[in-house]
């Protein structure tokens, strides 16, 4: 805010002194009021005026809505203007035992003029701050909007990438390439699985939520392809209740699984077991994916680059919640827990 700016903070007391000086000169030279009275009047008036100005700024700051803020600031100026004139007059009279009839008369008759000056000053400051405030909040609103659009775009992009998965595709084709020479029957089988997988990816793209069983079939297909690629190094254990019902947004589980496979396979040599647990629990579907990882290598393998952060963002976009995805490391096991709220209907 303007007033909190350090560079101009020293201006405030300085301008207060200047105003008091002007006030004094005005009374002392123009109206021939005594030195003491002029000084007292100017100092007390400026003190009250500063206090009122502070009040103006504070009352604009705490005003909750932007609607009608200009009217509100005019009202604040009227109220504080009247208070300032009243209080400073009373204080001056109480402060010094005045028996200067000329000054007393001057003090009372100058009330309206003082009020008008204060009112002008206060309403100018008030409207200035009110406008400033509404501009700031407008800018914040725009920024929020822009952030949201960016997030949305990213999610779209993520979906696309998930769909294309170029490296997965290239590596699978390379495996098929090898199989055609050594095991043509298995090559055919893998071509079939790969086409099923791709067909499914395209169909799922349009849907917001799909039955969880469909998602699991799709993942089963994906895992079967990965198992062929990595041979006996990759072992996947599925644990789920029979006939699990419910829905899940597509493209959430797969990146988690992909992550688990990458961490598991690239962080370790030898055989790797990845386990997937699925449970229905108080209106939620709970997915628990664990994989071994190498705590020493201390580096995440590269790939599509989205991984957990992408899933977290998508969950936020869909459910507006940040507590649906958790991860924890225990010894050499990395566990990801995904919760999907189920509609009551």
């Amino acid at each position: 805010m303007l007033l909190s700016n350090k560079n101009i903070a020293w201006l405030l007391p300085l301008s207060a002194i200047a105003v008091a000086g002007g006030h004094f000169i005005f009374l002392y030279y123009l109206y021939n009021i005594s030195f003491t009275l002029s000084l007292t009047d100017s100092i007390i008036s400026v003190l009250y005026m500063s206090l009122a100005l502070w009040g103006v700024v504070q009352s604009i700051k705490i005003y909750p809505t932007r609607v009608g803020v200009t009217l509100y600031s005019l009202f604040v100026a009227v109220f504080l203007g009247l208070s300032t004139v009243f209080l400073s007059t009373v204080t001056i009279k109480w402060w010094i035992d005045v028996n200067d009839a000329y000054y007393l008369q001057f003090l009372d008759s100058s009330g309206p003029v003082r009020y008008i000056i204060y009112w002008l000053l206060f309403s100018w400051i008030a409207t200035f701050f009110a406008l400033n405030k509404s501009i700031t909040s407008q800018e914040q609103k725009f920024k929020k909007q822009a952030d949201f659009t960016a997030l949305h775009k990213e999610a779209e992009l993520f979906k696309l990438r998930q769909q294309l998965q170029p490296h997965f595709l290239y590596n699978s084709l390379n495996s098929i390439n090898a199989l055609t020479m050594i095991e043509p029957a298995k090559a055919q089988e893998m071509v079939g699985m790969l086409s099923d997988f791709l067909r499914n990816s395209v169909q799922r793209e349009a849907k917001e939520k799909i039955p969880v069983q469909d998602e699991l079939d799709y993942l089963g297909n994906y895992l079967a392809i990965e198992s062929i690629r990595f041979g006996d190094r990759l072992n996947v254990m599925f644990n789920k209740e029979e006939n699990i019902a419910g829905t899940i947004p597509p493209f959430l589980l797969q990146p988690l699984l992909e992550n688990a496979i990458k961490f598991g396979l690239y962080g370790n040599t030898g055989k790797v077991t990845i386990s997937i647990n699925i449970q229905a629990q108080s209106g939620m579907l709970l997915f628990k994916i664990s994989n071994p990882f190498d705590s020493e290598a201390n580096r995440s393998p590269r790939g599509t680059g989205f991984g957990l952060a992408g899933v977290q963002r998508r969950l936020f976009l869909i459910y507006a919640r940040t507590d649906l995805l958790e991860t924890n490391k225990e010894g050499n096991t990395f566990t990801t827990i995904l919760k999907i709220p189920q509609d009551e209907a």
């Binding site: 490296h167 590596n171 390379n174 020479m181 062929i228 190498d294």
Partner: protein, 246 residues
């Protein structure tokens, strides 16, 4: 004489493919195949092959990291699904860069290229291998050889790093390690917010810093958690100030 070949790829079928493609060519003999950089490193020292088929993304130690550790490198044909590494691969004077899925025609071409260059100096360019802009993001680890054993030092283990002629000396709780590299390169593979080059010959992790004491003529000394004292140059002090927001 047959050219000895070692295959390094974590996917068995990918190795099988290369093996099959090589079968029909009488000039080559696959002497060993392995699934990660650690094994690869050992196999290369044991078999002294002429040619490597090397994947980049592999468990524990990736292809480039493995090459860095070798004193003498054989000719290399990279073989990966990631095209992002091609630039770096050619900078290191690799013979060729095969993209998966590998086709027979492309493979034959790579072999021809190798044979035409065989005998001439096909050594990898160690300088380029150690060059920057290698991987996306920060590595946050250093791979060193310690009495013939490969050791991965995580960023969090590092107390500080000192330049020593052509080598860098990495100080950790478990002792110090030497690696043929430069501080400039190390500087680029770590997050600049966490590691700061405080001196021409020193890099320190910000987390290790206890305090900074004035020394002489504008220079300072940094006291680290390990008790070590590291000189801080004038420009190093500026970097510290701007990173830590003093």
């Amino acid at each position: 004489m047959k050219h000895k070949v070692v295959l390094i790829d974590d996917e068995p079928l990918a190795r099988q493919l290369i093996r099959n493609l090589l079968k029909s060519n009488e000039h080559f003999e696959v002497v060993h195949e392995c699934a990660d950089g650690f094994e690869g490193f050992k196999a290369i020292q044991e078999h002294q092959p002429h040619l490597l088929f090397l994947d980049v993304q592999m468990p524990r130690l990736n292809g480039f990291e493995m090459l860095e550790l070798l004193d003498t490198t054989p000719s290399v044909i990279f073989c990966t699904a990631f095209d992002e590494y091609a630039m770096k691969a050619f900078e290191t004077h690799a013979i060729d860069y095969l993209l998966k899925p590998v086709t027979k025609e492309r493979f034959e071409k790579a072999l021809e290229k190798y044979l035409s260059q065989a005998g001439s100096d096909t050594k990898l360019d160690a300088e380029a291998l150690a060059s920057e802009n290698v991987y996306e993001g920060y590595q946050n680890r250093i791979v060193v050889k310690d009495n013939g054993v490969i050791r991965i030092i995580a960023a969090s283990e590092i107390l500080y790093i000192e330049a020593n002629d052509d080598y860098i000396k990495i100080f950790t709780k478990d002792g110090q390690f030497l690696k043929k590299s430069t501080l400039t390169r190390i500087e680029k593979s770590f997050d600049g917010g966490a590691f700061i080059r405080v001196h021409r010959s020193y890099i320190i992790p910000v987390a290790q810093l206890v305090r900074i004491e004035p020394y002489e003529k504008g220079s300072h000394i940094a006291l680290l958690h390990s008790g070590a004292k590291v000189p801080v140059s004038k420009s190093g002090m500026d970097k510290l100030k701007s990173t830590l927001g003093w």
